[in-house]
Symmetry: C2
Subunit: 426 residues, 2 copies
C-alpha cells in the first residue's frame, strides 16, 4: 500500500482506477454453454458439472434427507449465530415494506400503486474456497419477506458431490427446499431457461465469478431479470478524528482477503495516521490465514492523504465505494453528504464485517462505481410495483379533452379516438 500525500483531484481517477473487467472475451464461451443447457437440459447440466466441478452427479436436486442430515451437522453455536443474523436481517428488510399508494390526481381520476412479489426467484450461492452461507440469508430473507412463491437455490457441489452443511442449514431455516447442485454459468442457464429438473425463474440473484456474471448479463437480454452486475468487492475507509490504526488496518485487511482483485482504499487527513495504519497492517498480516491473497490486493491499493473533509467527501462521491467506513467521531454528520456508496459503516465500532453478516443491512451491494446508479439489494428488488387507474365518467370528462389534444399532436388518432368514443356517450 502506497501513501499519496494530497494528490490534486486531477490525479484521483488514476489512483482509484478499478481493475478492467474484460467481459467481451467470455461472451462467446458462456453464450455457447447457455445454448447447450437451453437445448439439452439436465443432460448438459450433468456433463458441464463433470467438466467444471469434476463431480459425477446422480441427482441434480438435493434430497430432503440430504438437507436434514446436512443441517444437523451444524454445531449449535453456529446455528445460534446464523439465527441472530437472520433475525436482524429480517427486521431491517421487514421495515422496508411499503404501503400501497393511492391518490386522486384529479377529481374522478384515481391512481394507485401496489407492490407485488416476483413469483419465482433464483438464488445463486457461489462455492469456491469458502461456503458463503451468509449470502443465503442476504438473498433468501428478503425473498421470503416479499412473499416470493418459489425460491430456487443453486450452489456448486463439493468434491464429494455434497453441498456444504451450513448452506443447507441456512436454506432449511428459510424453508428453501428446491436446492440444486449446480454452479457457474450452467446454474444461471438452468434457472433462466428451466430444465426437466430445475424450474425456470423470473429473476436471478446472487454474486458470482466472471462466468456467472456474464451468464446473468446474457440471460437478462432474453426475458429474465437479474439483481445487478457484480465486480470485485471494495472498501474505502476514511480515517478521521480518533481513528484507531489497528481497527482501520483490520478493516482494510478484511476486504483485502476477499481476493487478489479486491479494491482497498485508505483515506486519511494525516500522513502519520496513514503510516501507523500501514505498520498495523504488517503486524496483523502475520497471523492471517489468507495473508498471501491480501498482500497482492494491497499492492494495488492506495492510501490517500487529503487536506480536509470537503476533499474527502468529494473523492468518496467520485469513487462511489461499495463499502464505506467512516472511522471518525462525528460520522453521522459527515455521512449527510454521502451521495454515492453501497453501504456505510459509521464510527469506530462498526467494522464492515458486521454488515457482511449480521447487523441487518444487505451485503449484496453495487461494486465498480455502480453505486452512482444502483442500490444494494433490498426489498424492492424482490417485488415489482404495478400501477392502476380508474376513471369515473366525470373523471374522463375532466381529463379527456387534454388527452385528445395531446394524442392528436402526437399524430396518434386511435389514441384520441379511445377517449372520444367514450365521451360521446356521456
Amino acid at each position: 500500500m502506497q501513501i499519496y500525500n494530497q494528490p490534486p483531484p486531477s490525479q484521483w481517477p488514476a489512483l482509484l482506477k478499478r481493475p478492467l473487467i474484460n467481459a467481451p472475451d467470455l461472451e462467446a464461451t458462456v453464450g455457447q454453454l447457455l445454448q447447450d443447457v437451453a437445448q439439452r437440459g439436465d443432460t448438459a447440466l450433468r456433463e458441464l458439472t463433470l467438466r467444471f466441478d469434476k463431480v459425477q452427479l446422480d441427482a441434480l436436486a438435493v434430497s430432503s434427507e440430504e438437507i436434514t442430515e446436512g443441517a444437523r451437522q451444524v454445531e449449535p453455536e453456529l446455528q445460534a449465530a446464523i439465527q441472530l443474523a437472520h433475525d436482524n436481517i429480517a427486521r431491517f428488510h421487514e421495515a422496508q415494506r411499503q404501503e400501497s399508494i393511492r391518490i386522486q390526481t384529479m377529481p374522478g381520476v384515481a391512481c394507485w400503486q401496489k407492490s407485488v412479489a416476483i413469483e419465482k426467484v433464483g438464488l445463486y450461492i457461489p462455492g469456491g474456497t469458502a461456503p458463503l452461507f451468509s449470502t443465503v440469508l442476504m438473498v433468501g430473507v428478503p425473498a421470503r419477506i416479499a412473499g416470493c412463491q418459489e425460491l430456487v437455490l443453486c450452489t456448486p457441489p463439493q468434491a464429494d458431490g455434497s453441498i456444504n452443511p451450513v448452506i443447507l442449514y441456512t436454506a432449511q431455516l428459510l424453508g428453501i427446499d428446491k436446492i440444486y447442485k449446480l454452479g457457474g454459468a450452467q446454474a444461471v442457464a438452468a434457472m433462466a431457461y428451466g430444465t426437466e429438473t430445475v424450474p425456470a425463474v423470473n429473476k436471478i440473484f446472487g454474486p458470482g465469478n466472471q462466468y456467472v456474471t456474464t451468464a446473468k448479463q446474457i440471460v437478462s437480454r432474453g426475458g429474465v431479470a437479474i439483481d445487478m452486475p457484480a465486480g470485485p468487492s471494495e472498501v474505502l475507509v476514511l480515517a478521521g478524528e480518533n481513528a484507531n490504526p489497528d481497527f482501520i488496518a483490520a478493516d482494510l485487511l478484511s476486504q483485502a482477503e476477499h481476493g487478489v482483485d479486491s479494491q482497498v482504499v485508505l483515506l486519511a487527513f494525516s500522513a502519520a495516521l496513514a503510516e501507523q495504519t500501514l505498520l498495523a497492517i504488517e503486524r496483523q498480516l502475520e497471523s492471517l490465514e489468507r495473508a498471501e491473497m491480501a498482500r497482492v490486493a494491497l499492492q494495488n491499493s492506495p492510501a490517500i492523504v487529503v487536506q480536509d473533509r470537503a476533499a474527502a467527501l468529494h473523492l468518496i462521491n467520485e469513487y462511489g465505494p461499495e463499502h464505506l467506513i467512516l472511522a471518525m467521531d462525528d460520522a453521522e454528520q459527515f455521512a449527510e453528504g454521502i451521495r454515492n456508496a453501497g453501504s456505510v459503516f459509521l464510527g469506530h465500532y462498526t467494522p464492515e464485517s458486521v454488515g457482511d453478516y449480521a447487523s441487518g443491512t444487505n451485503h449484496v451491494l453495487p461494486t465498480n462505481g455502480y453505486a452512482k446508479a444502483y442500490s444494494g439489494l433490498n426489498l424492492d428488488a424482490f417485488v415489482k410495483k404495478i400501477t392502476f387507474q380508474q376513471l369515473s365518467p366525470q373523471g374522463l370528462r375532466n381529463i379527456g379533452p387534454a388527452v385528445e389534444r395531446m394524442a392528436e399532436a402526437e399524430q396518434l388518432t386511435a389514441h384520441r379516438n379511445a377517449v372520444s368514443v367514450r365521451l360521446k356517450t356521456l
Copy 2:
C-alpha cells in the same frame, strides 16, 4: 383478428407468442458504432447524424434561443393540456416519495436506509413519425421530483435540423436546458461515455427502437445503468360484464396503431361479444389515419374466449401484459388477483390513452413479459437507496460474537479479526 373459442391452457403460449427480437444480429454493428463515439466524440456524432438522420449539424446542442423560440410556437390549448398532464404525473410520482427508514435491529445496532437521487440522468426521446413529447414528461417529471441534478435530453433532429417545438416546450416546462440533437445508438453512446459537448450520465432512460435498445444493453455492461429492456408495445383487454364493443375496439386499435409489431390481445367471456368487437374494429378502421399499420398488427392478434374469470386471471398472469384493460363492472375486485402487468386500466371509462398521457401513472412500462420481474418507471428508478449502520460499543458486544463465529465458518479470518480487535479494547 381471429377468435379462438375456449382454447385449452396448453395452447395459450402459442396463441400469445410475442414476436422474436433478434438482438444478437445488432450487437456487432451497434458495438462498433458505440466504440466510434467513445473514441472520436463529437466528430463521430456529426458523421453518424449525417449518415442516419441525413442532417448536417452545426451545433449538437440546442441553443437557449432555439428552445424559447420552439416553445413559443406551441399553441395555448396544447400547452394547457401538457400542463394538466404534467401536474397529474407530478402528483402521482410525488406520492411515491419514501421516508428514510431507521430501526435498531438489536440494542446498540442502528440501521437506516436513505433514498438519494441519481446525480446525472440521460433522457432519450425517440423521433420517428410522431414527436413523443409525452415521454419527456414521463422521464423528466420523476427525475425532477427525485432531485436529479443534471438532466441530459437527446432526441433526433428533424429533416431541417430542428427539434420538434412541442418537445422543446415540454423540456422547457421541466427546466431541462441540456438538449442535444442526437438519435439512435449514437445518442446512447454520447450519454454513456460523454463527448466534448455531451455530458456523461449515470443512468439512461427512455424507449427506442432496436438500435437504441441494443445500445442501452451494451453500455449497461460497462458502468451505466438503464431503465429497462424495451420491446414492442402491447395491450390485453378483458371484456367483462357490460363491456362496450365500441370502447374495446377503440382500445385495441389505439395499441395496434403503434406499429406493425404491436401486440393486441382481446379476452372475452362470450364469443358474441368478441364478434361484435371485431365488427366495431372494422367500422373504426375506416376513419383511422394509421389504419394500414393497425391492420397488419391485428393480423397477428388473437381474440380468446375463456370460460370464466379464473381462466382469464390465469391467462393474464401467464402473459404479463404491459397494459391491461379490465373493461368490466367490478374491475377493482378482479384486479386484486393481478400478479403480472405493467399498468392496469379499470372499468369502462379508463382507456389506455389516459395513462399514456395524463392520468398520472407512467407510460414507460415493461413489455415482452418483463412485467413478471420489472416495474414500470417510477420514482424508485431515479434514486438509489443507500444503507447505513452504526454500532455503539454495547452494540458490538451484542452482535460481535455471532459475527466472529460466522466469519470463522466462512474461513474469513480477517473479517473475524475486524471484530475481535475492537472487542478486545472494550
